[in-house]
């Protein structure tokens, strides 16, 4: 089963491309301090912004900062935002989905109606509302994007739990007197893992996109090393210095594309029923 999934994944060219891009992104994010040729916040000299050169691959900003180093460090921020916000969505979604699916009855109704209410907000407005309540910062953005993603996980997990709850091996375990927590941990959770892994990859893509949008609006606070913020900082210089706008945008697009391709291929490999 596992070998077949791995084989299916590697047969997908787009999936392998996605995996390579995700790997490059992780490499950039984790090794940014080593790879970056300059300190991203060091203003090299008071001179005008420079065009891309062998010295500064992506040129420098009007403040004289090296753009390539800023993009590399931006990968760190995106990774942090992606991982933390998706961890919030995933853990909360797992918790709610398992309880709703396993307990059923009024607990299920209550949780699912709460999820319906959460889904009744357009995601960007919900995120804006949460950031306004918590105050403008990158942490607020992570929490907001995390909360926005909870319904997707909760619904998927609940569906997976419902699918295995009445299967014979689970009923047998229950008949043998196993404790509910043991049944959930040993039998129910493992069955939800496939879809959760797929969703995690696809949600990281959305989370990076959403948080870049929120930072672009200025909700992440000022002067943070984040791709959306860099776009906002440099957007007025587009006519003269297009590379300062192109670089962060391409970085966001490639990263989001990578996680989308990776997630799509994972879905095809892990869940043949969902094959498009």
């Amino acid at each position: 089963m596992r070998n077949r999934a791995i084989r299916t994944f590697f047969r997908s060219k787009t999936g392998v491309l996605g995996a390579c891009l995700v790997f490059l992104f992780l490499l950039a994010a984790l090794l940014a301090p080593v790879l970056a040729p300059f300190d991203p916040e060091h203003q090299i000299d008071g001179k005008e912004s420079q065009s891309p050169s062998s010295h500064h691959w992506l040129g420098t900003t009007p403040l004289g900062e090296d753009m390539a180093s800023r993009i590399l460090h931006g990968a760190r921020t995106s990774l942090k935002v992606g991982v933390i916000s998706v961890a919030i969505s995933c853990l909360a979604g797992l918790f709610l989905g398992v309880i709703a699916g396993y307990r059923g009855g009024w607990v299920d109704t209550l949780i699912m109606r709460a999820i319906d209410i959460l889904m009744a907000f357009p995601s960007i407005l919900l995120a804006i509302t949460i950031v306004s309540i918590l105050g403008r910062s990158l942490h607020s953005i992570m929490i907001a994007v995390g909360v926005v993603g909870i319904p997707v996980f909760a619904r998927q997990v609940r569906a997976s739990v419902l699918a295995v709850r009445e299967l014979e091996y689970v009923t047998a375990s229950r008949a043998l007197g196993a404790h509910a927590s043991r049944i959930v941990l040993r039998h129910i959770l493992p069955a939800t893992m496939g879809p959760v892994i797929v969703l995690t990859s696809l949600r990281i893509a959305t989370a990076i996109l959403e948080s870049a949008g929120l930072s672009f609006l200025g909700l992440g606070g000022e002067a943070i090393l984040e791709w959306g913020t860099m776009l906002a900082e440099n957007k007025d210089h587009y006519a003269r210095l297009p590379h300062l706008v192109l670089a962060p945008g391409i970085a966001i697009s490639l990263t989001v594309l990578a996680f989308n391709l990776f997630g799509d291929a994972l879905r095809d490999a892990l869940d043949p029923r969902l094959h498009r």
């Binding site: 109606r113 009744a120 407005l125 509302t129 949008g213 959306g228």
Partner: protein, 339 residues
């Protein structure tokens, strides 16, 4: 069997309608929390000039009821909102409700034109890729759809703006001037006034933001159309139609598309909700004087009444549009078991 289905359909509709006030209540509560989370002192200072006396601060807090218990404040907020009073902007003292009335048509016009573009291109691409599966057109439309979902709309907006202002001579910022404003939908207003030059100007200004905003819904419509057409094209009645020797176009349009249309229309309705509620970024970049840019500007100025009011109205619209789409869907397709 039929009765049971009808009953389950009715109970679904009933449940959705009963949930509506709860959802709107939560929407109101969360927007209320936006201003409640700001300490009264900060709000009092923001409401007036910078240097005011302590006594004045206290009196503003009392006047506005910001010293009252949470529930009292929330109920007052709800009561006022129901009467159409959404407070005033701190920056220009304009009542939020009248600003929203002025700006809502701008957002609606952008959303509707955007949805039209998304449906037009998305359906064409979806049909083309379903009928020519695994051809270059199938692959390129899949790539285009993937791009639409991966490229940040606000970046695309910046690039489009940069390129067009450099190479094409069309106005890009703002909505233009339709002459007399009647509906607030400038395309319609300029047509009603019979002013074709104004119509052309408003149309040119609308075209680029609407196309940029259309990328995400277009990607989704393309995927849904393709999947839905593939389902239908494999059905027996299509084979029958083919063996009867009907022309290809008739099969595609009269038989296949008609039956594949339901999921497409559903997704279009849901996307309209998103477009009405989520154009914050695109509106900001194109200086489009709608609800989205209103909220975004107020947010940065720490002007919370417009944020509250704007989010309240956009979220309510989103909820109502979604509900109508769902109910329409349940009505149009008796096979659908909703639950």
């Amino acid at each position: 069997m039929v009765d049971a289905q009808a009953a389950s359909g009715t109970s679904y509709i009933l449940r959705r309608l009963l949930l509506l006030p709860v959802i709107l209540g939560v929407v109101a509560l969360s927007t209320f929390l936006i201003s409640y989370s700001i300490p009264p002192r900060v709000r009092a200072v923001a409401a007036l000039e910078k240097h005011i006396s302590e006594a004045r601060i206290q009196s503003i807090i009392r006047e506005n009821g910001w010293d009252q218990p949470f529930l009292d404040q929330f109920l007052t907020y709800l009561h006022r909102a129901l009467q159409g009073d959404l407070g005033r902007s701190v920056v220009n003292r304009e009542p939020v409700a009248s600003a929203i009335r002025r700006k809502f048509p701008a957002t609606a016009e952008l959303a509707l034109v955007s949805l039209f573009i998304a449906l037009l291109i998305g359906m064409c691409l979806g049909i083309a890729s379903a009928t020519r599966r695994n051809s270059w057109i199938d692959y390129s439309s899949a790539l285009l759809a993937l791009g639409g979902l991966s490229i940040p709309v606000f970046w695309l907006a910046l690039i489009a703006q940069g390129l067009i202002s450099e190479y094409v001579n069309i106005p890009l910022l703002g909505r233009g001037d339709p002459g007399t404003v009647r509906t607030g939908l400038y395309l319609l207003d300029s047509l009603l006034a019979g002013d074709l030059a104004a119509f052309g100007d408003c149309f040119q200004r609308l075209l680029v933001p609407a196309t940029v905003l259309a990328t995400v819904p277009m990607a989704i419509v393309t995927r849904i159309t393709r999947a839905s057409m593939l389902d239908v094209l494999g059905a027996d009645y299509i084979r029958t139609a083919r063996s009867k020797g009907l022309p290809r176009a008739a099969i595609l349009l009269r038989h296949a598309l008609k039956n594949a249309a339901l999921p497409i229309l559903t997704i279009a309705g849901l996307q309209l909700g998103y477009l009405l509620g989520g154009a914050v970024l695109t509106e900001t970049i194109f200086d489009w004087n709608g609800l989205g840019s209103y909220v975004a500007q107020a947010l940065l100025a720490n002007d919370f009444a417009p944020v509250q009011g704007g989010v309240l109205v956009m979220a309510t619209t989103f909820v109502l549009v979604n509900l109508s789409v769902d109910l329409l869907y349940a009505r149009l397709d008796p096979r659908v078991k909703l639950g």
